[in-house]
């Protein structure tokens, strides 16, 4: 239960969805994943574990093109997982790139690295025996995949604004801090994948709660005027406000989301709206309590109406804001002026304030692989080899 008084009028009535049961019964996201890893009879995960591995950054998939063929062969589908790394702000160092380049080539079915719109990379086609080694390998190069999927705060985006390179550095640090502040506190990931000792303590999830969030939750840090991360598609957005090139705080926008279910009028795209300005010392608390308010009032009955945008429309933005303020103990200041002039990516070379040149490269479908006449993956690896990062 919430550590804050919950207004029952703001709670969606009805029978909780099955996802709520499985989160509650999961022993803080452990489930029986470890015993499934030992099971040599299937390449997949059983029962709740199929969903629980998402909280650890993986989706179970199979090669649909050969599903029927394998059924005729009396073989189960070619189960494998897709792993989505957690990389706040999407920055990867050359040594890390070379390591994941090699892993993709040797240990995945498709040999590719996928770059995603959430500023991270994915491995596709990892077979069960390779999953644990993969996490240990990532850990060895300082990368994890905690909470990149599931009903949690996902990878935190940050404007890739190399022109404003100094401001970008400051904003990027906040993206990392927010990401880490909102991570699940359970040691399940370390125990299951990294073989770390089980510590005998009573585990709690003070921010996300023992049943985690009602639905996925997406956060961005954005540096105007470039809205490349698209605040309107995200639950929680921190719009950087600078004075004399120095970051002083953020305007906070909540409740964006473009997804809708066709034919279901209770779902709709919605723009994010402003809660107000906060100075830097309150950033983490505000992030935390936008999350806890959504945690306590988000719809846990109907997953199609569970995102923050629906919570705000259901309880009203003023109620939402005052709940956050109550919990943080600070009132939002009026929004500082800002303007977005561009969306999308600026391809090609640009020179930053620091005098360094930056290249934005278009990668079709984000698929990094060597293609006939176009050795993309090899090329990027070669760049990583000469780059000092």
């Amino acid at each position: 239960m919430s550590q804050y008084p919950v207004n029952p009028e703001f709670v969606a009535p009805g029978k909780l969805s099955d996802n709520e049961r499985l989160k509650a019964e999961s022993d803080h996201l452990r489930g029986t994943i470890s015993s499934d890893l030992q099971n040599e009879i299937t390449g997949g995960f059983n029962g709740d574990n199929f969903m629980l591995i998402r909280f650890h950054g993986m989706y179970q998939q199979d090669d649909r093109d050969i599903r029927a063929e394998r059924a005729a062969q009396k073989l189960e589908p070619l189960h494998n997982v897709m792993l989505r790394a957690r990389m706040p702000g999407g920055i990867i160092k050359p040594a890390q790139w070379l390591a994941i380049d090699k892993f993709a080539a040797e240990k995945t079915l498709y040999g590719s690295i996928r770059l995603t719109t959430r500023q991270t990379f994915q491995f596709h086609g990892v077979l069960k025996p390779n999953i644990k080694p993969m996490h240990q390998f990532l850990n060895s190069i300082g990368i994890d995949s905690i909470a990149t999927a599931g009903d949690v705060n996902r990878n935190v985006l940050c404007t890739s604004n190399p022109v404003e390179s100094e401001l970008h550095q400051q904003a990027y640090q906040w993206a990392i801090k927010i990401s880490e502040h909102l991570l699940p506190k359970t040691r399940a990931y370390a125990e299951i994948w990294l073989d770390e000792e089980k510590v005998e303590t009573t585990e709690t999830e003070p921010v996300l709660g023992d049943t985690y969030l009602p639905r996925k939750f997406k956060t961005t840090v954005v540096i105007p005027p470039h809205n490349d991360v698209d605040v309107h598609a995200n639950d929680l957005n921190f719009v950087a406000i600078a004075e004399h090139g120095k970051l002083i705080g953020f305007n906070v926008l909540v409740g964006g989301g473009l997804a809708m279910t066709f034919g279901d009028t209770s779902t709709y795209p919605r723009r994010a709206e402003e809660l107000g300005f906060i100075s830097l010392e309150h950033v983490l608390k505000v992030a935390e309590h936008v999350v806890t308010v959504q945690r306590d009032y988000g719809d846990r009955v109907n997953r199609k109406n569970a995102k923050t945008k629906y919570t705000i429309d259901r309880i009203g933005v003023d109620n939402f804001r005052s709940e956050v303020e109550k919990r943080v103990g600070v009132a939002f200041e009026p929004v500082r002026p800002y303007a977005f002039t561009s969306r999308g990516d600026r391809f090609g070379w640009v020179e930053g304030i620091d005098g360094k040149h930056h290249l934005t490269l278009f990668i079709e479908n984000g698929r990094v692989l060597d293609f006939p006449g176009k050795p993309l993956k090899t090329g990027l690896a070669e760049i990583a080899k000469i780059h000092q990062g």
């Binding site: 040599e40 009879i41 299937t42 390449g43 050969i66 063929e69 394998r70 059924a71 005729a72 062969q73 009396k74 073989l75 189960e76 070619l78 077979l127 025996p129």
Partner: protein, 604 residues
Amino acid sequence: MLLSSLVAQASPLSEQQVKQLQGLVSQLNPIQQAWVSGYLAASAQLAGQSVAVAPSAVAAPAATLTVLYGSQTGNAKHVAEDLGKAASGKGFTVKVQDLAEYKAANLKNERFLVIVTSTYGEGEPPENAISFYNFLFSKKAPQLPELRYAVLGLGDTSYEFFCKTAQDFDQRLAELGGKAIIARADLDVDYSTAAANWQQQLITTLEPEFAQAPASTADVISWPGASQTAAAESSYSKQQPFSAELYTNQKITGRDSSKDVRHIEISLAGSGLRYQPGDALGVYFSNDPQLVKELLLLTGIAANTPVLLGTERLTISDALTEQLELTQSYPAFVDKYAKACGSEALQALVADKTALRSYLSERQIIDIVREHPALISAQQLVDALRKQQPRLYSIASSQAEVEDEVHLTVGVVRYQAYGKPHLGGASGFLAERLAEGGSIKVFVETNNNFRLPENDDTPVIMIGPGTGIAPFRAFLQERDARAASGKNWLFFGNPHFTQDFLYQVELQNYLKQGLLTRLDVAFSRDTAEKVYVQHKLLKHGAEVWQWLEQGAHLYICGDGARMAKDVHQALLTIVQQQGGKDEKAAQQYLDQLRIAKRYQKDVY
């Protein structure tokens, strides 16, 4: 039960009645005979008469010919049974028995003993002969001064230890004081004519002895019992195979597998053929027409040239396609072909047995002819080749589940050698040349030495990597259909989990439903260190031992050259470690299991 051997003295019928009966019976096919038999038995029972014949009152000891067989594929068994029939036909009292069933203690009482045996692997006795073989070569073996014996060996001259077991038996029986009735014969794969001759010679030699003995043939007649067994038997056999329809030919290894394994479903509808889990299906096949064409081209023979095959006249093309062995090579072919074409190189090779074996190990007939093409006559070619032997596949289904179908798990023999693709004879026919709906000649080869426990509560441990899983699919179907309560533990292995997990979905379902108590798998190429079924056995040694102590039956099917030996070694280790026994005691423990029919193998 042989009606042809019925003589008036041995039956309650008059000579006239016997003749009438024989006249009728000779016109009946086996199914009709069975019906008549059952009909008579039933009417006799209705009439309140006992039809059982009292044993002959003659007290004089009957000369009995005991025919024992050591058989891996059923050939020795058939030869032994033929011999038994022929000898009974001459009025001999004959007992034909599986060596596994034979009580070695009776050996000292035998006067006339025939052993027909094959040889397995590197000169070892076939599975069902091991216990008797060990007894005979042990200190417990009695002196046999009264014994007259004959040994017939069946083998394959391609192998180094050709007919080794027969030679061993022969030598040992002589050492123990036995006298040979006729000389041992060691026969090659196409043994049938030579076996018939040997049988004839044996019977002729023995006839005076048995003629003197009183014809005590009470055991020959047993009307009521006969009807039951006969009715269950089909008229189809190895000699008269059933032309069955191929229902399904489904590859069951993944697209990236290095192996091509097929799940084959064949209809036995209308054949009356019955089989039990553990039996094998004999399969005849047609050779690849392309192969025949090439062979004829290389030897300069026209496809329609008539040839004589035994007494049958047919075209060389038909003989090669349907009747002769073209894929498995063997020394006799090289010898005859070398002579026919006058090749000195080949003749020199024939003289060097070791070189010849290694030469043949990787060549099919076509490879030899490709290397030494020569214009020979059609008849020379036919005479150089031997008759095709049917291939045996362990049956992968239970009739309790699939009724009049029979399923096989066939590993397709396919490899590249000498710049050309090669395909196995039967597996190539089943996998590639026979269309679904096409017909294939089959027969059932019973194997009483690979049987589920009679008691459904008995646990079973099944070790079947690769296509060795076939009979265990049959076992599981059977145990499922019988709702057998005994625990079932399967060990399976193959190179890759994603590609080679044969019957994966079926096995997963058996696990879910609880029929399979345990399933342990070893995928040797998925890990840096190769893991095989024997490693999994050792890993779970404590539980394996527990199961054995609970009375579990143990089965191994698959590769005999390495796997079965490695598994046996692992079992020895388990019995030593878990049972606290030394090596000898562990060996005895497994021997006892074997004698108790709790340790059975179907290996190839």
